[in-house]
Symmetry: C2
Amino acid sequence: MAPRSEESNTQIKDDRQKQILSSALKVFIHKGFAAAKMSDIATEAGISYGLMYHYFQSKDEIYAELVRDAVDSSRHVIEQLKADDLEPIDKMRALVAQIFKSVGQQQSAGYYFVLMMEAMTSGAYPIQAIEHPHGPGRPFDMLVHVIEQGQHKGQIAQGNPAELVQTFFSAILGLASLKVSGTIETMPDPEILMRIFQPASQTTT
Amino acid sequence: MAPRSEESNTQIKDDRQKQILSSALKVFIHKGFAAAKMSDIATEAGISYGLMYHYFQSKDEIYAELVRDAVDSSRHVIEQLKADDLEPIDKMRALVAQIFKSVGQQQSAGYYFVLMMEAMTSGAYPIQAIEHPHGPGRPFDMLVHVIEQGQHKGQIAQGNPAELVQTFFSAILGLASLKVSGTIETMPDPEILMRIFQPASQTTT
DNA sequence: GTCTATAAATCGATAGAC
DNA sequence: GTCTATCGATTTATAGAC
């Protein structure tokens, strides 16, 4: 039998895993963890039911893997942002633009965002293995720092920075959910969201 | 046997139904429809498993009933608001205050809000029987009208009113979810959210 | 009306052929 | 590596005693 040297078995295996993860992400986002059936994921991926278990041990494992990827992705985006040479307020603006774009175009980064927030807020999910949303390297806290810098420079409204980030994230999460579910067709003008950072008076007196 | 005339059977039945619905609301909000077990609801209500089916035919029926109540409640709140003698921007302010309060105090009105939005955005729920989020008497569209009035009076920023309502609702939904899940302990300053409506310049030139 | 016990259905996970 | 068929556990829903 001729061995297919062009595409090794490990390569096939890697591709399948990514394919399954990608399909699972969509299904989890649309139905939630509990309602998502393994058969749904298999159908979405275009493979048989049993093959799922050749690549993953359980539904929980797939979910955990996705949440881990989502947290990593979010952290990466924000670290990139912190390194960029931009004013704090423009970093937030860039973040909104990036998220809105990926959500609007139905890219995985957009799904990741929804998944991560859902994993945080739902009590029904198995996230034992996942690091929790507090500590030094967490996306949430990293943004608080950017907000504080913006406040210090007078670009961002005063007040509890954590509350600002909460409101900011909440709005994005809600909008992303509406978009993913098809309730809205397009994401709104990002500047609407940016107004939550707006200081009381535009002119610096 | 002495009949208990003071509390008729229909009264008992009505109380039990409300008790079950109230418990189901909490469980659905915390776990989602699919993950919520009938046994969870029964335990929360302090009754036996089997008794659930004496008052409701199925889990779907309970959920549908709750979503119907939630939509009615929301519509009622907004209708009340429209009737109030307030400036449009203050109507929105009053709405935020009311929702934040009920969510913060874990009242059913707060849960209703989360449930209604979740029912809209999740593809995994049985809402065939439920009227959908478009049409004349829908909470969403009723708010668009208030926004338009505020824009006409210069109290609210220009732009697509529907987008404003979407962003507004999204933020509230996200915040309510965070609160209900225990991720945040208190709701943020409502004025952060109100800045979404803020026109570009405060002074009317 | 309320409960316990049981049936029926669903779904995650496994076994084994190709 | 991939599939189909089956097991086993969980959960919805029903039956029947009190």
